[in-house]
Subunit: 123 residues, 2 copies
């Protein structure tokens, strides 16, 4: 089993955010209303958290296969918002001496962590 | 602060799965190729895990507001696949004596757990 996960990236453009809103029926104005979003503490549009989280999932599955994902466990923290036009990348590395346990992350184009945590899959 | 989260539901139809595949660029055949999927251990199409997870996120935010979601932490387990035409509902309840910590879940139309775990948000 490889011990570094294959990274998976996504460019978070406004049409992608709108499509995600439609799909999940989640039209919170912080995601879809620029005027509203700019007046909040966030100072602009942010992407749905689970849109970025999907990159960790994809990275795990791309590297380890679907079977490994059965009963997968994620323990993650959303540490920084993802903004319009950010490029986010999900990846991870297996923990030394802990087969099936991965330190996982999503990072933005400035290499800042967006999501950090641990994933446990079938070893 | 309310101690029961407002439930959020989603009907997982094939067009939704296809749209999610396009959006996340995740065309794993277990999600999009019925012939392939039926020959696997899963015995049919399953939805992307993070599509269901989004319901927990939405349920938290709908009930508690966007501000509560800053530095949110999720510790969750994917316990059962979500299949085509399943109706899944995300929700949760605050843990007794632990403000900001919620037992969270996604359940299918048979009331079987699909995702279970804990979410920690700003109390």
């Amino acid at each position: 089993m490889p011990n570094t996960l294959e990274p998976v990236s996504l460019t978070v453009e406004m049409p992608t955010i709108m499509a995600y809103a439609r799909l999940t029926d989640d039209y919170n104005p912080i995601h879809v209303d620029r005027d509203f979003a700019e007046k909040t503490e966030m100072k602009g549009i942010i992407a749905h958290g689970t849109m970025s989280l999907n990159l960790i999932w994809q990275s795990l599955r791309k590297t380890l296969g679907t079977a490994a994902m059965k009963d997968a466990r994620l323990d993650i923290r959303f540490v920084r918002p993802v903004r319009e036009d950010d490029v986010v990348t999900g990846g991870g590395v297996e923990k030394e001496g802990e087969p099936g346990t991965y330190e996982v992350w999503v990072r933005n184009q400035k290499d800042e962590p967006v999501i950090t945590g641990t994933a446990t899959v079938q070893p």
